[in-house]
């Protein structure tokens, strides 16, 4: 298996990466190496550029009018900004803050939406396999296996979010990006989703933006702390929370500002 050979190699690499909204400089000179099959949490106060940085990784940032970026962003040593955005997004899946299943599609079709809506033809058995496998991966299969033909919006918020993760997982990406994936969920759904992260990192590299420090501490192997658009500190989560090197990190994790 490739993933065992290069287990510790870097998947995503940014060098001097900057992002802008118009003239507003929101991500400043970020250098980061994200290792394969790890969970990396990106935390920081509101408006620190963490979500913008995440959206630059799969080139969703540029969809906003006036948005631009500069610097180096690589996946497996290939420049993301020289690839076609469609290939980038097939390799790097994304889950959003609010669950957003396609309201016009059934649960089944939502899972294979990436194939179905892209016009990729699959044999019936193959589709069934992908749907069952993806829903099992996100611990949703048992809850929905009898209502696969119901609309995705019929599920509860937490189930919808897991459906959205299944939809991203179904495309077999290398990296999964999560933009505050639990901030719209209740505590029980939140812990279900958090458990998934441990499960998912055996196959994927996870980057999770969160404004919740406890969540970062619970789920991640490494943590990046953003403040005012800068990457202040990036380290093993344990080290970061027990022995931060930067004063600002220290102040943030001790709750002196948020």
């Amino acid at each position: 298996m490739e993933s065992t050979i290069v287990k510790d190699s870097v998947v995503i690499k940014s060098r001097d990466f900057n992002a802008y909204f118009g003239t507003n400089h929101v991500v400043k000179n970020v250098n980061i190496d994200i290792p394969r099959n790890q969970v990396v949490a990106v935390m920081g106060p509101s408006g620190c550029g963490k979500t913008t940085y995440l959206r630059c990784i799969n080139r969703m940032h540029e969809l906003i009018p006036g948005a631009s970026s500069r610097g180096e962003m690589k996946i497996n040593d290939e420049d993301i900004y020289e690839m076609h955005p469609i290939f980038v997004r097939l390799k790097i899946g994304m889950v959003f803050q609010r669950p957003n299943p396609f309201p016009n599609l059934s649960i089944y079709d939502n899972v294979i939406a990436g194939y179905k809506l892209n016009g990729i033809k699959l044999a019936r058995t193959e589709r069934d396999r992908i749907v069952e496998h993806s829903l099992t991966r996100v611990a949703l299969w048992n809850e929905v296996k009898d209502s696969l033909n119901k609309k995705g919006s019929f599920l509860s918020g937490g189930q919808q979010q897991r459906l959205c993760i299944a939809r991203a997982v179904a495309m077999e990406p290398e990296v999964l990006l999560f933009d505050e994936p639990t901030s719209a969920l209740d505590p029980i759904s939140t812990s279900t989703v958090e458990e998934l992260f441990h499960e998912l990192k055996t196959n994927y590299t996870l980057i999770i933006v969160t404004h919740n420090m406890q969540q970062a501490a619970r789920v991640s192997d490494r943590t990046a702390f953003f403040y005012l658009g800068e990457l202040v500190e990036y380290d093993e989560t344990k080290t970061m929370f027990t022995n931060p090197k930067d004063n600002r990190t220290q102040n943030y994790i001790t709750g002196r500002f948020s």
């Binding site: 969703m60 009018p65 957003n100 309201p103 016009n104 939809r167 991203a168």
Partner: protein, 282 residues
């Protein structure tokens, strides 16, 4: 405070409420009056014979409106074939590019187009199509009606799509979908009820238009399906017959008015049903 002044204000409040109820009712009266009068005058004229025959020459009893009925259907179908794709595409463009210069100007043009009197659109179609082609034709009438349909289709498409949350589009883009698939597989299906209701309303709107057809489709006493030749339509028939001196032609006009009215009513009811049935729950 003195009781008298409070009672006076309570009385004023009740009076105001009654006035709003009264005026709301007053809005219903004209429609009911029109319905009542046209049904009363037209219902006895409508039978199978009336629907499947063409008009007879003056002096002969009977005759129907088959030519106008078929003509109206054809002219409106052709107008829809022209206006609906253009209108929906423009609506998509406007909702996707809210701030671009082109969007500003095309939105402005569409709004102004909506206010252009229908007779003026008829004249334009006359100069653009009837004169160069040297003859009245159903096609030129359809083009005139298509121009009238456009603003309604464009604006209802734009407004519908603007209401869809951005998260829907992001979900589609994040799965690696190209722009055209995001639009046609996600955005349009989610807004289909609003788009269709706009199309239906625009059809209802042009069904009764007479002015743009006067010097384009022109009218034709015979049944024809050739869109390059003059063709009759219901509003033209009503206009011609109602202004004629013959009593049995007046009767035909009443019958045709009732058909036209029912057509528009059914379209409106159908639109409501579609909107309810096909609405995608977000």
């Amino acid at each position: 405070m003195n009781i008298g002044s409070v009672n006076y204000r309570i009385g004023k409040s009740i009076g105001f409420q009654l006035a709003t109820i009264l005026f709301a009712f007053a809005c219903v009266v004209p429609l009911l009056a029109i319905l009542f009068y046209i049904v009363k005058a037209g219902i006895t004229k409508i039978n199978w014979h009336f629907l499947v025959n063409v008009p007879k020459p003056v002096g002969e009893i009977g005759g129907g409106i088959a030519n106008a009925l078929v003509g109206s259907v054809i002219i409106i179908l052709v107008a829809s074939v022209i206006a609906v794709p253009i209108g929906i595409m423009t609506g998509i463009f406007l909702s996707e590019n809210r701030k671009s210069k082109l969007a500003y100007w095309s939105r402005l043009s569409v709004d102004i187009l909506q206010g252009v009197p229908s007779i003026v659109i008829g004249i334009i179609a006359y100069f653009w199509l009837v004169k160069p082609l040297r003859g009245f034709s159903a096609l030129s009438g359809s083009v005139a009606l298509a121009i009238m349909m456009l603003p309604i289709v464009v604006r209802s498409t734009e407004e519908t799509l603007k209401l869809l949350p951005d998260s829907l589009k992001e979900a589609a883009y994040a799965l690696g979908m190209p722009f055209h698939r995001v639009i046609f597989k996600v955005i349009v299906p989610c807004g289909i009820s609003g788009i269709l209701s706009g199309v239906m309303l625009s059809i209802a709107r042009i069904t009764g238009e007479t002015a743009p057809l006067l010097f384009t489709a022109f009218g034709n006493p015979y049944l024809t399906t050739n869109i390059t030749k003059p063709m009759h339509s219901l509003p033209l028939l009503i206009f011609n017959y109602a202004t004629s001196p013959y009593n049995d032609w007046h009767d035909l006009a009443w019958g045709a008015s009732l058909i036209l009215l029912m057509w528009v009513l059914l379209l409106n009811i159908f639109t409501k049903l579609i909107t309810r049935k096909w609405k995608v729950q977000l």
